[in-house]
Symmetry: C2
């Protein structure tokens, strides 16, 4: 493979650090590798000219640590003015091919012309200065913006949408709506009784009902106390924080590539589906009926665990029979990175999920829902801000760009290049790599140990590549939607180089 | 009083609606009534020219209802371009003196010149387009912005600060830090054990500890599932949503004005303090020790319940003895409306609270804390966005304006005019008004019934005044920091008029 040829232009050990001027090497398998840059003035490659982290980052880190005493997660301080397209530039002037993309949250990369234009509109300034309490005094333009930015990309069959501030809040409020719907249904459509109102004020039954939400081991649904009870990704997220007693089922642990292991995977998925049935029965018997089940199309933070459409179709069926809502958490998978706007589109469900939540690449939090899941009374789902109107102005430009530049195709194409490249690397380095898997450019591969995964991320950063990890020992790739074939080649080339040096 | 003279300029019943061109009438008690406008091109008064809600609002409401099916809270659709200073303009061209100010969240009113300038900076555009995952790749400018915008107004004795997205998330994460600190202290400073890590993954003891947070009846701390367990303001906020079993104590129900009822109020505060001690003991015995207590300086949403400095000083003492953190929720009281940047400054505590949370007027969520409440390990308090950098650019301009225009003095002065005016109205209309109370322009007065309170808000809106309610039957005033004596006069004049017509 072409990308296995090391870059002759790389000049290492200049002043004790790595200086590399990458020239993209075309992967022969890809016909579109010579595609013109989607962001015209994007850099040609990474460039590392100081130690990483550089001296300015280190100085700022110290300063920041005086402020928060919580900086163990900071990798570098960025110079966002100088960043462009897929390349993040840090305060020390190093530039990185960003394959992690602010934890998958900057859909069009850095300083995209469409967004530069969008934020220069007087509308945006007005919306920013005069931030409204959207539930009480929304701007006149807001319904139109909701239609343009959000309803235009609504999952099929979901006609309502509500904005919120972040992913955790989206899940919180989406699940609140499932509780409201569950209780209203249980009362035969009647409003709450006086006894329910009164007891709710003291967190008591029957007004504060003992309902539960079913999640999956390995899931990540946020870090507020409620959502953390549904999150089972890593112990450090949860330890020392109190939790609700809510059920969790196993999520399928499949073999990849999925099409090669259909039979074994089916057995595993059936086992997990049975566990879902068992948990629902167990919690009903316990007096804590399951009002809803929340699931990610791919368990992301927990380790990029995929399941097949069969699993989700059966899951929906089980939940429907149990009278529990089917909530799909597309906070990480939504917005195009799966090669479709919504990952769950690829399941071909017989009917829409009841609720679909989003954030990250949609740049605003929120959720879609069926009308029957709307609150019946005013102020049941409400807060001061209920989202941020400026985000919809930008999201309109993002949605337009996705369509205009055929970014879903770009994602599909780059995804194929990366995944097939990882499979080749896996064959070349079986001692290090396994289980390459992906959906669009939402891709991961397992390393031989957590230490090796961390080591690759560090080596990548020193060479000008920002990579992520997830689960115990997976390398997580989450590029922007403008990550083209040439970027895929650069990434594969660098991974090959790193693996060859391990 | 001058403001009791009705406006002769008011022309009612023009085309079946109310057209009023208010001219401010100076309240004789106020020396500063003739103060020049803080926002130079602000309107002179309200102007209502259609039915309220007007036809355009009604049309948009229908359109919005198709999108969310949750529009029972919307009062009007606004034209934020046309709004200025203290005056909100709606899509029908009506303008209102805004005494509720987007639920107290727009500190400098509409289209303030300082913010128009702040949002036109290229820094803001860069920060907006390239939104960073602040916990991993913060912008190089971020530490400086945290210092300028947030540390410059930090409550005395609190040297750390963390940004978050909204009020609920600020309280969620602040309380998480108190759990972490509580458990670390319980382990004598040691890190979690393997057993704790393992059990936390399954929401089980000992990793998911059975700790509780103490709140107060009547409190409002947010609407996420965890925070809703601490909220006891109105049944509609809570009914049908599951809750954590966490203790709540009574908050003092005092008589106003406070200085007239010192002795009776002291008895009531002592009763509540004893109940705090009892609840702490009860939950310790139950195996759910209280890790922290969260309290608002004034219970806002719950009905503007005040307590005296004595109460908070004693509360802090009780919590310290119990080893529970003292968390002050200044989401609604913070940012200057109390006449000081932080309401709790006025208590003169012997030492700082352990944590102070904020949002609303600070335009970003977040919380201050003592260094010992910082998480000990990376990724314990973390999420994708961890706030929004653009807000700090604007907050810098807000903080500068508060200082430059002496807005705390403006608030103190307007607060005195409003409160003394309400006391006079209370004497004039004892059948309708009672319990006028306030701190700065954070002011409320009770009406004779919930219906009367709602009626006054409706009549106010039809006459060009936006008012709020809280608790069962209180009128809630939450103007911007630029609400001057002339605005106070207009408001009092209108209230007098409404009351005279009831």
């Amino acid at each position: 493979m072409a990308f296995f040829n090391r870059l002759s232009q790389s000049a290492r050990n200049v002043a004790g650090t790595t200086v590399r001027v990458s020239t993209p090497i075309r992967h022969k398998a890809s016909a579109s590798a010579a595609a013109p840059k989607l962001v015209p003035d994007e850099y040609d490659g990474p460039l590392v000219k100081t130690q990483v982290p550089g001296p300015k980052t280190q100085e700022l880190l110290q300063r920041m640590d005086n402020i928060t005493r919580n900086t163990g997660t900071i990798q570098l301080f960025a110079d966002y003015k100088a960043s462009k397209g897929n390349f993040l530039v840090d305060v020390d002037g190093n530039r990185y091919l960003d394959c992690f993309n602010q934890i998958s949250s900057v859909p069009l990369g850095y300083n995209h012309p469409a967004l530069i234009q969008a934020v220069s509109s007087p509308d945006l300034a007005t919306s920013m200065i005069n931030r409204s309490a959207l539930g009480v005094f929304p701007p006149g333009e807001y319904p139109g913006r909701m239609e343009e930015a959000l309803l235009s990309i609504a999952p099929k069959g979901l006609e309502c949408v509500q904005t919120m501030m972040c992913g955790s809040c989206s899940n919180e409020n989406a699940l609140k709506q499932t509780f409201l719907q569950y209780r209203t249904k249980a009362r035969g459509g009647a409003m709450p009784t006086q006894e329910e109102y009164d007891s709710a004020m003291h967190n008591q039954l029957p007004g504060a009902p003992d309902l539960s939400i079913l999640s999956f081991n390995g899931a990540f649904h946020g870090r507020t106390i409620g959502m953390l009870s549904l999150t089972h990704s890593k112990p450090i997220h949860k330890v020392d924080i109190p939790s609700l007693d809510w059920p969790a089922s196993d999520f399928p642990a499949l073999k990849y590539p999925l099409h090669q292991y259909e039979q074994e995977n089916r057995v595993e998925e059936d086992r997990c589906l049975q566990m879902v049935r068992d948990k629902i029965a167990e919690y009903a018997a316990k007096g804590k009926p399951v009002a809803a089940c929340i699931v990610e199309p791919v368990q992301a933070e927990g380790g990029d665990h995929h399941a097949t459409p069969y699993f989700f179709i059966q899951l929906q069926k089980i939940l429907k029979e149990a009278g529990a809502a089917f909530v799909v958490d597309e906070v990480q998978t939504g917005g195009g990175i799966a090669g479709t706007i919504w990952a769950h589109e690829q399941w071909n469900l017989p009917e829409a999920p009841d609720v679909v939540t989003f954030a990250k690449k949609l740049i605003t939090g929120g959720y879609y829902y069926k009308p029957e899941f709307a609150p019946k009374l005013a102020y049941q789902v409400f807060n001061t801000w209920m989202g941020e109107p400026t985000k919809l102005i930008m999201l309109e430009a993002i949605v337009d760009t996705i369509k205009k530049d055929n970014l879903l195709e770009v994602v599909q194409n780059s995804g194929k290049i990366i995944l097939s490249g990882l499979e080749e690397l896996q064959a070349k380095y079986p001692q290090f790599l396994s289980r390459a898997r992906g959906m669009g450019t939402f891709i991961a591969v397992d390393l031989s140990s957590p230490e090796t995964a961390a080591d690759i991320v560090t080596r990548g950063r020193k060479a000008g590549f920002i990579l992520g990890t997830c689960g115990k020992q997976s390398l997580r790739l989450r590029p922007a939607l403008i990550f083209q074939s040439q970027h895929a080649e650069m990434l594969l080339d660098e991974l090959d180089h790193i693996l060859s040096e391990l």
